[in-house]
Amino acid sequence: MIETFFGQDALSTPGAFLAALFLGAFFGVALEQAGFGSSRRLAGIFYFRDMTVLKVMFTGLIVAMLGLAYCTGLGWVRADQIFYLPSIYGAQIVGGLIFGVGFALGGWCPGTAAVGLASGKLDALLFLGGAAGGSILFNETFDLVQPLYVLGDRGVQLAWENLGVSQGAFALAFTLVAVGCFWGAEAIERKRTGGGEYLNTPFLKTFSVALVFLAVGLFALSGTGTSGGPAAPPATEVGILAEVESAADHLEPEDLADRLLAGGTDLLVVDVRSAAEYEEFHIRGAIHVLLPDLPAQLEPYKNRGTIVLYSNGMTHPAQARDALARLGFQNVRILTDGLAGFRERCLKPVSLRDDPVPPEEARKINAWRAHFSVSDAAAPGAAAALGQVAVSAAPGASVPRSTGLPGLVETEWLARNLAMKGLRIIDCRSQPSYNGGHVPGSVCMTPEHFRGVVRGISASLLPADILGRHLSLLGLRPEDTVVILPEEKLQDATLIGIALERAGHLNYAILTGGFAKWAKENRPIDTRLPEIVESRYPVNLEADRFSVDAAFVLERVQRGGAIILDVRPADYYSGKKSDEARAGHIPGAINRPFSEDVTKSGDLTVFKPAEDLEKAYAAIVPSKDSTVIVHCRTGHQASQTFFVLRNLLGYKNVLWYGAGWTEWAARPELPVEGPKDTSSSPGS
């Protein structure tokens, strides 16, 4: 079985580039040898003078068509290993007509002009320059042309399927047409110019017979000659096999996604994996049935609508499908490549794909992701959606999705998703910097907007209901995705993150490198203020389960059961320096300054690589299930450690003591460990 670069998703690897270079060279030799280094010769077809274009192109087409039909028919290569061009009739009709006019005017097409250039033809160079200009023109007018670009998009359409005939029959008919054209072309040339040197020659006769012979031979291959047209219900083993052979029993992930998204009610999607796997994640709308229960459970749906089975792979569903077919089910299909394929082909973020994704497809993928990234049983709203976008949150995959798991996103991702519906951008820089230019649509917001005096403690994070008013004024809705742009202090972004979490908005991420990186990469910048319509953000007052108070911390100090991380600079931890009522730290607390988690990349402040952070915290915290309390002076710096532990590294029980050392030091009844000379702790 041949595996192609496309099939292995490796078209953008050096190996594929090298193969493309060599294939291109053969392509060039074939075109040049055909005489296509001459525009005069190419244009000849339009005046019935020189029909070489027709002869060469039609021969190449038929040879490749027959060759591929043999390769798939003999099982050497599967159809899913080959990229099939979609049929977008509107674009192809209009594009074809314009292309034809350009072909007749220029006397070249792109491939032949490349060969013409190699032969020294200056008109080929001009033509290529024009074509490059035409490509740029297309790019510049894309907004206008876009409706036409997708007009009549029908996905992959095969001519023989559309005509309701078998592939073999169509291939034979096509071959006969080609042979007829060859003879016709020779006759025209003979008549018009006295050419047509192959007319009636033994060569052309032999060649014609050979092509037809090869086309007829296709019928000898199993399946190819019989599997065309609307599939008849398979009543027998042979029928089942024929359907399996022709892959009529499969449904492609993209097709499933489209049909579900369109609200297709004629579709029953059945997950046959274990209950635990189903609980963790399943395709939205799927029901769970164990393999042995399938016949009984599916009886009401027998031959009504379409039943789609899926598992992680394809073996079990395929066997189940065959078993059901023997019981008379004729409407069961299996999902190509199973859930793994669905994740890869429908849910993989555009930013993580190797091959560039055309804008239209990107929109589709984003729509699928928005719909399917959440199982219906999972967390409410789209909280989970960003979990998978979190590009840098490497260990995130193992964390239950219900935590929301925000992480980091890259500028590339933001640039591509700038127009995404429900994307909200918060810029943490100062107002003057923001006014001077910002990411289009972003709002200026610093952590101070979310802080105030709460129960006598300054710089406290405001209660959820007040935060909710703030979010409403921002026009935020629960399904929105928030991207926060930090400046130098990453803790500004993480504090805003913690404010969002307190209000129950888990769907946020931090932009690596912030606005500075965005600007450095010359990405779009705007000075206009965004247009915002006030919303009514439904605050979840129960969302904050991570904030703890002094009493809680004291209990843990006395009874154990938690690791207390003091993230202030080392001198403050030791008590050498102090800006507070007392110097020192909470008894038993471990010092891990927040500044240790970030690094400079050029002049940008960024989080250290996940592996480094993983290692550092593994040395401090025994397991990801351990209870960790983070604190600093007022919760600002600690919010960064909180973000690192929970959202980047996947620690499950991270608590945030926001009031921190400001409160602890000022309450003399609380114990302090500190430099001996200043210790006034009643507990020691």
Binding site: S12, L18, A20, L23, G24, A25, F26, F27, A30, L31, Q33, G35, G37, F46, K55, F58, T59, G60, V63, A64, L68, C71, I82, Y89, A91, G95, I98, F99, V101, G102, F103, A104, L105, G106, W108, C109, P110, G111, A114, A118, S119, L122, F127, L128, G130, A131, A132, G133, S135, L137, F138, N139, V145, Q157, A159, P356, A415, R416, E521, P524
Partner: protein, 162 residues
């Protein structure tokens, strides 16, 4: 060379492309990527934020069709040198003005460049490759190319007059 033999070589190359790359031949894709690269050099910010070229990112040349186009030129050069068919000239009809040919080559190029982006392929990537796969839309494209070509040919016939 016998055009049918050249056609067989072309067909086998296309077949090899299907079996090795998993995708057919193409020429306009590589050219458009070079155009995107050019625009990127002149106006990086604008290009990256444009809806079509922008999706190709900041390194549009890292694409298999760019390498195929390079191979196409090299293969063509190799074959032309071997057969002694290289000569630097503007090809046209003997009695037709050079300027007419220059204008038509340029104008044809612009139309073809635009149309091959619209239809997502040219004679190689769409007409030849797609038709060999028996893709309906590609066969329609092929028919439209010749319809457009024959409709326009009469008006520009002078460029080939001897």
């Amino acid at each position: 060379m016998n055009p049918y033999l050249a056609g067989v070589i072309l067909g086998l190359t296309l077949l090899a492309s299907f079996l090795i790359l998993g995708a057919g031949l193409g020429a306009s894709g590589g050219l458009a990527r070079m155009a995107a690269y050019g625009e990127l050099c002149v106006a990086p910010e604008h290009t990256l934020s444009s809806a079509y070229f922008g999706a190709w990112g900041s390194d549009p040349l890292r694409y298999y069709l760019v390498f195929m186009l390079a191979g196409l030129v090299l293969g063509g050069l190799f074959s032309a040198l071997l057969s002694g068919r290289t000569s630097i000239l503007v090809e046209r009809g003997a009695s037709s003005p050079r300027s007419l040919r220059i204008i038509l080559a340029l104008a044809g190029g612009v139309l073809v460049g635009f149309a091959s982006r619209l239809a997502q392929g040219c004679t190689s990537g769409q007409a030849l490759t797609g038709s060999a796969l028996l893709a309906s839309g590609s066969l329609v494209f092929l028919a439209c190319v010749f319809a457009g070509g024959y409709a326009a040919a009469w008006f520009v016939r002078r460029q080939w007059h001897d």
